[in-house]
Amino acid sequence: MAREKIYQEEEFPSPLLQLWHNFKQTHVVMIGFGCFLFLIFISILSPLIAPYSAVESHLDSLLLPPAWSNDGDISFLLGTDNLGRDVLSRLMHGTSLTFGLSFVVVIISMVIGVVIGSISALTKGIKSSFLNHFLDVVLSIPSLLLAIIIVAILGPGLKNTLWAIIMVLIPQFVHITRNAVTEEFSKDYVLASKLDGAGSFRILTYSIFPNIIEKIIGQATLAQSAAILDIAALGFLGLGAPIPLPEWGAMIASSIDLFYIAPWTVYLPGLAILFSVIATNLVGEGMRHALKIRKAS
């Protein structure tokens, strides 16, 4: 016989679900989140929805201004560059390079950083003290400088840039995971499951990770806005994506010479970077705000 329900079912949302409840309260943050999803959507589907390919040149319409100016053409909505390539299509293809790759980079470095961080949180003594000092030193070197050094070792190119940025971001994740795990480990509920006979690994996966995942995601949004800016900056300096690729930073670098006759070829990619970084920052801001509300309640 089934047990009768005497009490109304009470729901205890998981930490992540609670975060989402608090997160969606702020409207500006939801707009940012919408933009974030829109960018993900574009970066996946850009080959299908972009009007032209990124390298196709239309020799009869060079340096067309955007469609809203008098000389513009509606078939090239955001104008063309000096080789007659459609700027809108290049920006859309560039989304998957600058924004999409930054997403991938953050996920890879997050996984590696969290694994190293949790292992180091479980070790004690001189090893962990050394790691702490080492992390302090690595974190005090500017991220772009470190990325430039790693690119110098590996040689220029988009793939090497990505590895460089992954390596630069890992210490931040190690640092935050380590601190969060050590903090949780001293709490009573961990002691309870320890008394139940759970091993360190089980405590880590069942008790601690669900409680610190929001901190890690918060760090991930910070890391992503840094990653977008770093990929674009390295592309701009000519150390990242090669010129023909529609990476936003490289697009700006290749059209600097046209700045005065065709300013839209410079300010549009810049606006795209600004837009994606703001969207990411808004999501991160909302996340931290929601976290603060949860901590306070």
């Binding site: 005090s140 070197i141 772009l144 050094i149 806005s225 810049g270």
Partner: protein, 342 residues
């Protein structure tokens, strides 16, 4: 204070050892012969090579090599540039002052502008002013700096023609290179056009320094806002209020001082960020500093220059970091002797 000093010096030494270790291991990680990467003597004859192997102890174990490398650094020898065949140490000593000048000016601008705005935001918490400042701050640290630099050149140099767009000073002025810091050199020189040169140099530094300062300034806004809000929440502010002090008195005499201490604590960490931004900005504004030189040496595969530049630039950042830590400790007794607080 003694304990604090010893602990900081300990950290400084540890960091310098790690940095030299990193820079030494780079010569093995870069493509090519480690000895050539370390010394930069690409055109050395075989006798000179034997000599170099002797000084850098390359026929012995790697620990001896590292020790020999440390000795060379202590003697001020960072090798020769592969591209220009000049000693790295002399190149750096002529370039680093320009970077110091630019980054410290930018830090100054960022603090002078950012901190008061942050205080205003905290005082007007959750009002229109606060929201407006926060929105502006969000915009400020999301802007890619190279793009901002280009826009600034387009607007202020080309369209309005107010400020020069490149370089440190107009070529018309002949200033002897003494310290490398342009302003001090100008003041030291005995040229009759001293003040014109001074004005020209100030006009040159405004645009790049403001571009660099924008992102750190927005971070200072947020730091100052948080610090001020925390201070305004404390009981000594409530006590001052109960005593009957006016709001302005509370802010000027109690809140600002205590909030400033918290802001200064974070300046060191922000400085690393600021130097990164300065490196990119130097490229755009053709500023003859170490950042532009480093990026150019990557194009030229000048590995010796990259090693030396990394070492010197990171040490500079860390030195500023430690100095700011000392200022913080001097201002805040709780930081030097933690047992006083608890």
């Amino acid at each position: 204070m003694l304990l604090f000093t010893i602990r900081r010096l300990n950290l400084l030494i540890f960091t310098l050892v790690l940095l030299t270790l990193l820079s030494f291991s780079l010569s093995y990680m870069f493509p090519g012969d480690p000895l050539l990467n370390l010394t930069g003597q690409v055109q050395a004859t075989s006798e000179e090579l034997i000599q170099l192997r002797e000084t850098y102890k390359f026929d012995q174990s790697i620990f001896h090599q590292y020790w020999a490398y440390l000795n060379q650094i202590a003697n001020g020898d960072l090798g020769t540039s592969m591209a220009s065949h000049l000693p790295i140490s002399s190149e750096i000593s002529s370039l680093l002052p320009a970077t110091m000048e630019l980054s410290l000016t930018a830090l100054f601008i960022a603090m002078v502008v950012g901190v008061p705005i942050g205080f205003i935001a905290a005082i007007k918490h959750r009002k229109f002013t606060d929201n407006f400042i926060l929105t502006f701050a969000m915009l400020g640290y999301s802007i890619p700096v190279f793009w901002l630099g280009l826009l600034a050149i387009l607007v202020f140099s080309i369209q309005l023609g107010w400020l020069p767009s490149a370089g440190q000073i107009s070529l018309l002025y002949e200033i002897k290179h003494v310290t490398g810091v342009q302003f001090i050199d100008i003041l030291l020189s005995d040229s009759e056009y001293k003040w014109q040169a001074f004005q020209d140099a100030s006009a040159h530094i405004i645009l790049p320094a403001c571009v660099i300062a924008l992102a750190p300034a927005t971070i200072f806004i947020r730091l100052a806002r948080t610090a001020m809000m925390e201070v305004l929440d404390t009981s000594y502010i409530r006590a001052a209020n109960a005593k009957g002090l006016t709001f302005a008195q509370i802010i000027y005499h109690h809140a600002i001082r205590n909030a400033m201490v918290q802001v200064i604590r974070h300046v060191g960490l922000q400085f690393a960020n600021l130097v990164t931004i300065a490196m990119v900005t130097e490229v755009i504004f053709s500023w003859p500093g170490i950042g532009r030189w480093l990026i150019e040496s990557i194009y030229q595969r000048d590995y010796t220059a990259i090693q030396g530049g990394l070492l010197v630039l990171s040490s500079f950042i860390f030195a500023v970091h430690i100095i700011i830590d000392f200022i913080y400790a001097a201002l805040n007794p709780l930081a030097r002797e933690p047992h006083h607080g608890t």
